[in-house]
């Protein structure tokens, strides 16, 4: 009973923080806009300053929604990977899923004559083509991971495979970029920094729908996810078709990671760290409580990163410069705690 109450309190706190962070992201940015004007713009009354109107409606609001959704998506993706591979250090960036998606994007961009940084809208086939590229790339890495997880039983080895796949994908992207224009390289580097301001209002419906549907799908997997906590043999004995379950989970993970990576770049650490934050806050591994908490905490962490990112003294700070500062201490804590437990 105590744990149930703790879960509800956690959710309320995370929701309140989400609201405050979203408000802060709305109020503070590289351009100072009076709060009263922001209020008017949000309420639909508009502002006398047309530039402010555009900044709020076409930059800050989409950025807040993007960050919240991307944070939730990457975090749930990490949670599913951690349960599927029974590995607390699994996550979409460390296992190379993000890099695979990035490689898919890079190949599509070069093949269609665009550059990665300007992918959103300039590729010949539009952003849907790049999205498909990202899905194929993420899917390919997940297929490699499945194949290796059948051969190497050790979860540490699987992580190393993921890291190697990551390096390989990054290296291929760099090679592809060597045939790209100087401008293309610049925009690739910018893309690699990660940012949540790349989704335009026109693209938002596709971005949001894909992520929300995948998050719902993940929520519907609560029962088999809980069974998998005991390992595949117990899960099978409880009537779970572990092959089908694992494939379904990896498809959901792939879609979540690919969509975020295509639009926001390869964002590190959030997917790995947030599920642990959620476990810590709710004191449970039970997915019925873990998934909602992970969604909210993921949105919070991404918004916090965004708030820091847009308030740099000399312009925008890359998201990927902020996530490790939050992520690395938590990962070290996990590793040390695991060592003590064993």
């Amino acid at each position: 009973m105590k744990l149930t109450i703790r879960f509800y309190i956690t959710c309320i706190v995370l929701l309140a923080v989400l609201f405050l962070l979203a408000l802060a992201c709305l109020l503070y940015g590289s351009v100072d806009i009076p709060a009263s004007d922001i209020g008017n713009i949000i309420m639909g009354k508009g502002s006398d300053n047309a530039a402010w109107d555009i900044i709020i409606r076409q930059s800050r609001v989409p950025m807040i929604i993007t960050a919240a959704l991307a944070g939730a998506a990457l975090s749930v993706s990490g949670l599913l990977l951690q349960t599927t591979f029974n590995n607390p250090l699994a996550g979409p960036s460390i296992l190379g899923v993000s890099a695979g998606a990035g490689l898919g994007v890079a190949i599509v961009m070069l093949a269609t004559g665009g550059t990665i940084g300007t992918l959103l809208g300039t590729a010949a086939g539009g952003y849907i083509t790049t999205l498909i590229g990202a899905l194929i790339g993420a899917g390919a890495v997940l297929a490699i991971l499945i194949a290796f997880s059948a051969i190497v039983r050790s979860s540490t080895m699987l992580l190393i495979v993921g890291i190697l796949v990551s390096y390989l994908a990054s290296s291929i992207i760099s090679l592809l970029n060597s045939v790209a224009s100087e401008e293309g390289i610049h925009s690739y580097v910018t893309w690699g920094f990660g940012n949540f301001s790349g989704v335009t209002t026109g693209q938002m419906p596709v971005f949001a729908t894909a992520i929300i549907l995948s998050l719902i799908a993940a929520t519907l997997m609560v029962k088999p996810l809980n069974a998998l906590l005991l390992g595949t043999r117990y899960a099978e004995n409880l009537g779970v078709n572990t092959h089908r379950t694992r494939n379904t989970l990896l498809v959901i993970t792939g879609v979540l990671t690919a969509v975020v990576t295509a639009f926001c770049g390869p964002i590190g650490f959030i997917g790995l760290v947030v599920p642990h934050v959620a476990r810590f806050m709710t004191a449970t591994s039970h997915h019925a409580r873990l998934i909602p908490t992970t969604i909210l905490a993921g949105a919070d962490v991404a918004l916090l990163c965004t708030l820091i990112s847009v308030n740099g003294a000399h312009g925008i700070i890359p998201i990927n410069a902020i996530t490790p500062i939050i992520g690395v201490p938590i990962i070290i804590y996990i590793i040390v705690r695991e060592k003590i437990h064993n």
Binding site: L3, N86, R233, Y234, E236, N237, G239, A288
Partner: protein, 258 residues
């Protein structure tokens, strides 16, 4: 409910090669009785248990439950017939004993796994039966080995199956917990009318507690019978190759004899 094997051959398949470990098994698992599966390492105990729980396919022959082919059933049907407890330690933290035992209800719950009041009662009852209810709110990672094994047995009980299969349930336990666990399984078989099958290396406890034995001999044959019968026939002598390792019926254990 009765589990029967018909001319069952078990083993493993690597690539195109099939290796049979035990052949022509015609066994019968009886309800209300505790059956111990004994044999040296590599004799095929785990393979037999894996085959019965459908983790491995039989090479030949069949296993049926009341005349229904077990291998033809889907996972969900099987999950309501056989509950499993393995040797391997579960590694997950963050699950309380109640959470863990509740997972045993999965074969009976709906799509999202929500527990009804009667599911909760079954879980509560299972924890009381094995005597782990005082730890209901403790995390499984904080339990002793003996307590964790009790929690796993409670989970199997909550699954509410006529058959419970345990692969070396006492392997990591100290002697007191071993005796307690065997006593508990004996009680569950007799008082709950379950068919309980376990594999073990703990000979003396198995001989004391088990009603029936399945002995895998050093010649790769499986002898089955009641414990009393097999003790009388001195069948245990056939477990090991070494002629100097003799069975001592008073100690109910093996001894080295010069």
């Amino acid at each position: 409910m009765q589990l029967t094997t018909h001319d069952l051959t078990i083993g493993y398949i690597t690539g195109k090669q099939t290796t049979a470990i035990l052949s022509h098994l015609n066994l019968n698992l009886k309800q209300g009785r505790l059956t111990a599966l004994l044999g040296r390492n590599g004799a095929g105990k785990s393979t037999l248990l894996r085959t019965i729980t459908s983790a491995s396919q039989p090479i030949d022959g069949s296993i049926d439950i009341d005349g229904k082919d077990l291998t033809a059933m889907n996972g969900r049907e099987r999950s309501r017939i056989i509950a499993l407890v393995t040797t391997e330690r579960i590694t997950v933290g963050g699950l309380t004993v109640t959470d863990l035992v509740s997972l045993g209800r999965q074969p009976h719950t709906g799509f999202l796994g929500r527990l009804s009041q009667s599911d909760r009662d079954t879980v509560e009852h299972a924890m009381q039966l094995v005597g782990i209810d005082h730890k209901a709110n403790s995390y499984t990672s904080d339990l002793s080995d003996g307590e964790r094994q009790k929690a796993m047995i409670a989970r199997a009980l909550a699954q509410d199956t006529p058959i419970i299969i345990l692969d070396e349930p006492t392997a990591f336990l100290d002697i007191a917990s071993r005796i307690e666990t065997m006593q508990l399984l004996h009680k569950l078989a007799h008082e709950q009318g379950k068919a309980v099958l376990l594999s073990s290396h703990d000979l003396s406890q198995s001989l004391l507690m088990a009603d029936d034995l399945w002995l895998i001999t050093n010649k790769g044959k499986l002898i089955d019978g009641t414990t009393a019968e097999l003790l009388k026939e001195n069948a245990l002598e056939r477990l090991f190759d070494n002629p100097r390792i003799k069975f001592n019926p008073t100690l109910l254990d093996f001894q080295y004899q010069e």
